[in-house]
Symmetry: C2
Subunit: 332 residues, 2 copies
DNA sequence: CCTCGCTTTGCAACCGGTTGCAAAAATCAT
DNA sequence: ATGATTTTTGCAACCGGTTGCAAAGCGAGG
């Protein structure tokens, strides 16, 4: 059915190798045969079969892009950046949705069957066991938005969540809040654990402020709203550092529903700076995570690993900064 | 490096064909050799190479999932459903981001190189030329969220946008609004054109109400906010049917910023019913598009086409319904 | 024990490409 | 024009599987 090398070779009156070579970068073909081949290929509408060539070259240019974050709007941005970035380098993302998968081995099997050249694990909530499993299967792997470690087992690109926790606490204290609180995501998420740690580190150094904490059941609007409602009815703090932006918006909604105002009665600072955070009817003060840089660096890292699979695991962290909007009162 | 058929065959003491057959559904192998092979395969950690087998079988189980909607939160839901649905059927989505691509032929080339078994075009804004190009290249293709046509050139699964436009106009009129308006997405989008048509059809049958219209520059928050701000300063209507939910939220934000209330001063109805629409601080009245059904049906359609490529193009439309929230006043 | 019919097995060709190698052709220096 | 060099070309083997075909193996029936 489809046009193959052979068809083109016959039409152009050359050998199959000649055709192959005109389509391979840096192979030795004379201009004359190249032209003959190109004409024949054009006329027949020939497209080389990337999968067949992968058999001998050992390269598929397929990159497994695996994630379980299909409910956090920030990840649409992440997917957009990843797919474009990969495409720009001639790589194709094979998307794997791990939302209800618990066994890393299944994903390893799947991606091995398709001989992906590399794997990007894009998730802040997925267990490190996944990235590790790929590494053990000898596939180049980068864990984007993963947990920082000084002795990393796999390549990790992301932010320093402990530092973010510190930054948030400092921001609240600098604004003169007396009772500050951490309203985290699920306690099992490493990102929550780290942000919590950083937050409390700073709080402890400031005995004059009171610091409390609680955890929402998920990084979601509903969980944020539920947890903040609970807070408002019991021991309301002056300002909250919420697990992430969606959680923050849920919390904000609870504050408004309770007839309170933000930042008048309650201050809120989020983390991520997703597009929605700057929408005027939300205007969330938040810690900006430099998503484009993280994605770009992840792609760059995975591509260099294609050539140097043995490369020592490294951690690349990007600085975050506070984006001032309207859910925190100004610094006095 | 990797374990191949041959390795397993040698270890099990059988021919390569025997190994191949134990891994092929419905092939003839005795229990005895099957057991031998399975044991050897297990010990070596063998995984059949799906790409190599695709060479002879002509099936890759790869489905091109192509879209340009990487900024509308509803599409995160769409990607979630598509990837899970495909995975559940043993198919792998090869994601293609068409955000800055204008030539369908490039995508056709790309997906041909990877011999995808089928293509799903998931976009409400992409020109029909894309889906058509795939069909002309003899690939099974389904255009999800595409435009309805009574004589379709390709398979289309989606909603009847004209009917939605009618439904919106009727809803506004039933609620007693005297001056109703259509605030569409970009005029070039087929979805906008159709919704506009339906809206105006109904308006014309009601000479007692005044109907005006305008178009935002994109299906985005900012475009909605800009266009609504313009409206408020010139010829403000009593209620608006906005192009989609993000546009509606932008419009809502403009109304609030202008010190007006919704639905008190201005009514708004959106379209899509994305997750955010039900968030309590948004509470958007909107027309619900049955995304899960559309996705499911699209996948079902593309899989049946794998077996019957010549199947006549058909259009599958799903009914929409109004979800009553708080941006439209109640029916008197 | 032999024959018949069915199942299982291995051989070898093939899928659509790539590539090392040696022969052929082109280029260069003399 | 000649020989030495360099470039281009085709052959054939290979990548990791699948599959048609014929031979081998098997159990049943006579």
């Amino acid at each position: 059915m489809a046009i193959t090398l052979k068809d083109v070779a016959e039409k152009a009156g050359v050998s199959r190798s000649a055709v192959s070579r005109t389509f391979t970068e840096g192979a030795s073909v004379s201009d004359k045969t190249r032209r003959k081949v190109e004409r024949a290929a054009d006329e027949l509408g020939y497209q080389p079969n990337a999968l067949a060539s992968s058999l001998t070259t050992g390269r598929t240019k397929l990159i497994g892009l695996i994630s379980n974050n299909f409910h956090n709007p920030i990840f649409l941005e992440v997917f957009d950046l990843f797919t474009r970035g990969l495409q720009d380098r001639g790589l194709r993302p094979l998307l794997v949705n791990l939302s209800d998968e618990t066994d890393p081995q299944n994903s390893v099997r799947l991606l091995r069957q398709y001989s992906v050249d590399g794997v990007i694990v894009a998730s802040s909530t997925l267990s490190p066991a996944f990235a590790r499993a790929f590494r053990e299967a000898r596939m180049p792997v980068v864990h984007s938005f993963g947990r920082f470690s000084s002795a990393p087992e796999v390549h990790v690109v992301g932010i320093d969540n402990i530092a973010c926790g510190r930054m948030a606490a400092e921001a609240l204290i600098a604004r003169g809040y007396q009772h500050i609180a951490f309203l985290g995501g699920p306690e099992s998420a490493t990102s929550t654990q780290d942000r919590f740690k950083g937050f409390m580190d700073v709080a402890e150094r400031h005995p004059e402020v009171r610091a409390t904490h609680s955890f929402a059941s998920a990084y979601s609007f509903d969980a944020g709203r539920v947890e903040m409602t609970k807070q408002l009815m019991t021991d309301r703090a002056d300002a909250y550092f919420c697990g992430d932006d969606v959680l923050s918006i849920g919390a904000l909604s609870a504050v408004q529903s309770a007839g309170l105002s933000c930042p008048g009665d309650v201050g809120i600072i989020g983390l991520n700076d997703m597009e929605m955070a700057r929408w005027e009817n939300i205007a969330l003060t938040t810690i900006r995570q430099p998503i484009p840089e993280i994605v770009e660096s992840s792609i760059e890292l995975v591509t260099t690993m294609l050539d140097d699979p043995g490369r020592m695991p490294e951690t690349r962290l990007f600085a975050c900064r506070i984006v001032e909007r309207e859910t925190l009162r100004p610094i006095p």
